[in-house]
């Protein structure tokens, strides 16, 4: 067997999920459009006071990103569970952890990556300076994969439960807090004339931790859900 580490299976999962999302465009676009709308509502509600807007922008963009990423979480494993694909994934000779990373990767590509690209554009509504824009994009690029990873734990734990959507929020949002603090903090730091490197390094450390532990926890939860 050439595929010891399950890399072929991993890319197979990503490709299949992305293709599925292309067939179900409304599902795939919902979190992105939600993000755009929520972020755009704040300048309209608060009014054109530049100083206020500039101050609240990082927090709003990050909170909107958290909520947008959470919106699509209950679909992460739910459909695979309902149609039996999850059984086949668990019975695959490829390591389940790799397949989970594939699922999370596809979730990030569909709900995290678009936010990274859109955020700098939306941040213009808040009159953020150019230096903050790049840090915002970098912090989102490091932070949104963490959201998908932690979200996978919540989604797998609530698999097969009725009203799982609300429960996911309760489970996952507290775990998102460090990401929110370091993510929004990095943009704040730049705005205050400081260096963002410390915040971004901490964010990257969270990513490494989540990248290691989240697939493990998710595989355990998935196996329990199927019993």
């Amino acid at each position: 067997m050439s595929d010891i580490f399950g890399l072929a299976a991993l890319s197979g999962v990503i490709r299949r999920d992305v293709r599925l999302a292309m067939r179900r465009k409304t599902d795939a676009l919902t979190p992105v459009i939600f993000f755009v709308i929520v972020v755009s509502l704040f300048p309209l509600g608060i009014g054109p006071e530049r100083d206020t807007l500039r101050q609240i922008a990082p927090g709003i963009l990050w909170v909107a990103a958290l909520l947008a990423s959470m919106l699509s979480l209950n679909r992460l494993f739910e459909q695979d569970y309902a149609d039996g694909t999850l059984e086949q994934l668990v019975l695959s000779p490829a390591p389940l952890g790799m397949l989970v990373i594939g699922k999370v990767g596809a979730h990030w590509l569909l709900s995290g990556a678009p936010l990274v690209l859109l955020a700098p554009l939306l941040a213009l509504q808040f009159d953020l300076p150019a230096s903050s824009l790049s840090v915002l994009a970098i912090s989102l690029a490091i932070g949104t994969p963490v959201l998908s990873l932690i979200g996978a734990i919540g989604a797998s734990l609530t698999l097969g439960l009725r009203g799982g959507g609300v429960l996911v929020a309760l489970l996952v949002l507290p775990l998102y807090v460090p990401v929110l603090i370091f993510g929004a903090g990095s943009v704040d730091a730049v705005a205050a004339g400081l260096d963002a490197v410390s915040h971004l390094s901490l964010l990257a450390a969270v990513l490494v931790l989540a990248g290691f532990f989240a697939p493990l926890a998710t595989t355990v939860a998935l196996r329990i859900a199927l019993e």
Binding site: A8, R19, R23, D83, E87, Q88, L91, S92, P93, A94
Partner: protein, 204 residues
């Protein structure tokens, strides 16, 4: 080859079966019978390693399945109640993706040929949601042609199949057993296999 030792499964407080032991050798088929709710599916899920038994062990080639992990899964093909098909994808896309995830990638022309044998020519590129229940079942059974696995665990494979498809499937299982494969099957209908399968009844 496949051996169940003192297997027990419980649903809540109720014991479905207990002290169940059996052995299936190469070329043999185990036919599990029982009423609705007697625990046939639970037994099959235990054998496939999806559910751990509440007592007892499942052995494959003498070693417990729990220890073998992917070594066992590489030789197993499980066809459950759920089709494992994505409604939005076509039959071909489903089977190609499924085979890749199962660790033995196949080319789409091979898949087309397998679907042809399953009696689905002309419907290969249709999203699966437009297929009937029986046709979906045929698509998921076409995996039997694509993945070379020693042990087939089939849960009610005849459900929703027409007479022709039943004949095709029985022939497929016969040739699998002839070439040294094993099969564990549940069904409420009789299957006219060439060699008489071992029958166990549970829930009596």
């Amino acid at each position: 080859m496949l051996e169940g030792v003192n297997l027990q499964a419980t649903r809540g407080e109720r014991s479905l079966f207990a002290r169940l032991s059996f052995q299936v050798e190469t070329g043999e088929c185990l036919f599990v019978q029982g009423e609705n709710g007697s625990g046939k599916t639970s037994l099959l899920r235990v054998l496939a390693g999806l559910t751990p038994p509440s007592a007892g062990t499942v052995r494959w080639k003498g070693s417990p399945v729990q220890q073998l992990r992917d070594e066992f899964r590489r030789e197993l093909l499980y066809c459950g109640h759920l089709s494992g098909l994505k409604d939005e994808l076509s039959a071909i896309e489903n089977l190609v993706a499924g085979a890749l995830l199962a660790g033995d990638p196949v080319a789409s022309c091979v898949v087309r040929e397998a679907l042809h044998q399953a009696g689905l020519q002309g419907r290969d590129d249709l999203p699966v949601r437009f297929l009937s229940q029986g046709q979906r079942r045929r698509v998921s059974l076409a995996r039997l042609l694509l993945q070379r696995r020693a042990l087939w665990i089939l849960d009610e494979p005849l459900a929703a199949l027409d007479v022709q498809a039943v004949r095709w499937l029985v022939g497929l299982i016969d040739s699998h057993l002839r070439s040294g494969g094993l099969a564990v099957i549940t069904s409420h209908q009789d299957m006219a296999l060439v060699n008489r399968p071992h029958v166990i009844r549970i829930g009596v």
